[in-house]
Symmetry: C2
């Protein structure tokens, strides 16, 4: 199974066949022919030889010489969870590939030791840069050593604010949710379901800020908060309890789609219709939003966009400190009533 090692074609072979020195061949194949005043005819011969011999440069040799690998490392706490990490990876991989880079992944499982080891492994392999991602949008402190290497944070910001980061514009997303409520005429008696479960997490607070801003500017106000962790179960329990206590919401802003699912279940069990009795708008724009009946109108976190943008910053030589906020767009569903009850996905 091991390749029968027929000795790969080297730069020297190409040079020999073209009747030039390896130096010349190198310059030509690296596009420095003009700069080095190589004759057009010579260039043609070398390229032809490379083509005929099916020459592929030995990346390992080049890596050693240039200390460069056309490779970026991705450190993230959880690769496996939900589609989030996957989308971020996918977005990053696409942009990386376009510039000939590959992605090396490492999952820390939230363990600092593992994280440190992974960072070392990647730096040992001379990745050209590191993408540091978290599953939940949050403020974190990254390993010191990353400050000495090109690094871009995805979905998080570091406490010292030294490193460039790409995060969702959660406040803007909150405003979008608030505006959707206003547009559909369901802003009265709106409650927010969810509270930030993770210390350091940013999404909840910032989304709330945005929602309140939008409502307040239109002369409305939130009717209240129904706190719960961001899971289907917890949301169901919280909502169920609240409804049992006689609560009757006009609309619900759910901090994510899973909360919206739990909430929907509770509403259904109490005989309340969505969107007839209760309008729902939520956040995430996950597949789940398109699975529910009615489909959810959800303000999507642009995970793929974050990944893509982060790689762009790395490619551009990430100057440091700037935090870029990616706009959150609506995935229209039927949970607010009115138009598109089919959802966009």
């Amino acid at each position: 199974m091991k390749s029968k090692s027929v000795r790969r074609v080297t730069l020297g072979d190409v040079a020999a066949r073209a009747g030039v020195s390896p130096t010349t061949a190198s310059y030509i194949l690296n596009g420095r022919a003009g700069e080095m005043r190589i004759a057009g005819e010579t260039e043609r011969r070398v390229r032809e030889a490379a083509e005929e011999l099916q020459y592929r440069p030995n990346r390992l040799a080049r890596n050693l010489r240039t200390s460069t690998t056309k490779t970026y490392g991705v450190i993230s706490d959880f690769v496996a969870s939900g589609h989030f990490a996957g989308e971020m990876l996918s977005g990053a991989a696409t942009v990386a590939r376009a510039s000939g880079h590959l992605l090396v992944i490492g999952e820390t499982e939230g363990d600092v030791e593992v994280e440190a080891r992974l960072v070392d492994e990647m730096l040992d392999r001379h990745v050209d840069g590191i993408l540091y991602a978290t599953l939940v949008t949050m403020e974190i402190s990254v390993p010191e050593v990353l400050r000495k290497h090109p690094t871009v944070l995805m979905n998080c910001v570091d406490t010292t604010g030294q490193l460039p980061a790409v995060i969702p514009d959660e406040v803007g997303g909150g405003r979008v949710a608030g505006e959707l409520l206003l547009e559909s005429g369901r802003a009265a008696g709106a409650y927010v379901v969810g509270a930030d479960p993770t210390p350091g997490a940013l999404a909840g607070g910032r989304r709330l800020t945005g929602v309140e801003a939008a409502l307040n500017e239109a002369g409305h106000a939130l009717a209240g908060m129904i706190p719960c962790e961001w899971s289907v179960r917890e949301a169901f329990a919280a909502m169920d309890g609240w409804l049992r206590d006689g609560g009757r919401p006009g609309a619900l802003v759910c901090m994510n789609d899973r909360i919206a699912m739990g909430v929907s279940q509770a509403l259904a069990e109490h005989g309340l219709q969505v969107p007839g009795d209760v309008a729902i708008v939520s956040f995430d724009g996950s597949e789940l939003a398109s699975w529910l009946r009615p489909t959810l109108t959800s303000v999507a976190v642009p995970y793929a966009g974050i990944g893509a943008r982060a790689v762009e910053l790395l490619l551009a030589g990430a100057a440091g400190r700037e935090v870029e906020e990616m706009p959150m767009d609506v995935v229209a569903g039927g949970s607010l009533g009115g138009g598109g009850s089919t959802g966009k996905r």
Copy 2:
């Protein structure tokens, strides 16, 4: 931001400080001291020097010399979709890391051109092996060049049967589902919901085979099939139509959790209770199964296990041709009635 390149410590530096030759230092640090009859005292000095200088071997140089990179490439059609790909990656990464390997990923989006380019990029970088994964369990034909390099297929088998593969034991999983139905006394009037949506896909047929086998052996038989694509929407539509036509199932075997969700929605809208009126067992063991009310009893696809096992095969020098089937385990939920209505997740 670029590291200020203080010239990394090299093997030579360590050797100099310990007063030995680089050769000796190399042998010692590579654990070949015994084999080379290096004196204990010398070994100590070298290790100490390495420690003091914080020596980290230059992997790029080693890579070049050994044509080995402690790196595996993962080619998969979709990295972003669902938690499946993520779990497989995660399982693979964990085992890989344990042996000092990192994973390089590449997403083909199902495009053969992209796939070919990614394979080339990885082989150029001399990955030590390739994991080739598909989102859906299926039979595929892999790029020819992979046959010349250590390769293990994850969640798929190749048409020629030349390459080692790790797939879920779908027939066994089907049996498990059938047995669950029997154990809970709900085997009578059981319909199967779903049909294989993708050409070449294996899961549906094999699951069905297992379910039928288990039922038949106990003197039961399936009451029928309700075909639909494997999505929430399609499942809802199919089930809703079937119920409108007056169908009344005693139990449903759903080909995956998304189908089960659509089915649950349809049952609810027709006033049928789970598990009271209709028992449900499904496949996948995804998070979704734990989100529904009642939670689903679902036969889980061991994605993480597949990834982990595939890397083990690669590490063991994958001998070729053997196809390993990983057992599918039950994630207990409440959809079959009886015990655990809380679910295991």
